[in-house]
Symmetry: D2
Subunit: 106 residues, 4 copies
């Protein structure tokens, strides 16, 4: 499915329920954080986690991310690629290979 296709499905889902009014950029940012923490909760105590639960919580984070991307009129993939270029400059392969050090401490 293309990005435009999934955006269409999401937009329809939201419009049918008249939920656009709740989807301010701030409310979507809150929702992304809330769902991210529910994903994190699956790893709270180092218990084994079921794949189904990870799928379900990751889906929620992704859904709100896509809704925010639509709101600011950008394609998620374009955002990722644009940022990856900047990250590649901050973390040249030679300096960062095998390290989790932050760029400003490399």
């Amino acid at each position: 499915m293309t990005e435009n296709a999934i955006n269409k499905v999401l937009r329809e889902f939201v419009n049918q329920r008249d939920w656009e009014k709740f989807h301010t950029a701030e409310n979507l940012a809150k929702s992304i954080t809330i769902e991210a923490a529910e994903l994190l909760e699956l790893f709270q105590w180092d218990n084994p986690t079921s794949l189904d639960e990870v799928r379900s919580e990751l889906a929620d984070v992704l859904t709100y991310c896509f809704l925010l991307a639509m709101k600011i009129e950008v394609q998620p993939e374009d955002l990722i690629l644009e940022k990856l270029k900047q990250t590649a400059e901050k973390y040249p392969v030679d300096n960062s290979k095998g390290l989790s050090t932050k760029y400003d401490q490399l």
Copy 2:
């Protein structure tokens, strides 16, 4: 760009830096939450926020979400659509129209 194409770019970026070893499911879940909170920070005090900052922070959340999706071998779009079907059942249009009430209180 297709999902497979973006996955290929992400995989290459990570492999070149030998960063796969840091990308356990748990570390990615932590990273998604951390980046989500940086996105939220743009709305901390109801100040006006620049679109560029929103793009940049949303890009970070999306990148880690895509990396986790790759890790559990699922396409982000498939996850979103799969969950949307479940959400549609929890929130039938008739019951939920115009409301932000949680499904278990509808």
Copy 3:
């Protein structure tokens, strides 16, 4: 220092800067989450973390928690003890000893 004493110091700090207007319950909840994620960031990649950094980030979370407690006119310690009683009922020693299982699955 007693709780009342620390509340007095916090209130003075905020009043001098005319920052009460930013401290709605919602803004404080956002701030607690943002600071919590900064604390979490110290453990993002399983790197060793310095105690000083943990102290500094935990201090931020605690400060916003105390400000929210003041806002809703309750003492932090009272909140903790009140909740602990409920948690003790959900997790009787006999059932929960040595387990991280959630109470609804015990």
Copy 4:
């Protein structure tokens, strides 16, 4: 109740359940973040929120904060005061009065 008294109650609660083993600094940082997001969830859609719910979720954040403070052997109030001094230097009254601007942009 003094801080030492509440620490004693918390320690007893945890010891009785043999839960110390779960309370690594990292697990407590995750737990603080997870509970903070549950607090934030009360403000997700700008619905009115009940005071009881705020008390209950704030209690959870505070409890994990106090457990982490115990773990790193510091009193919560001392942490708050220590940090407040640093914050006061970053945000002199004259510069910051009535503003939510970050210190590095003042």
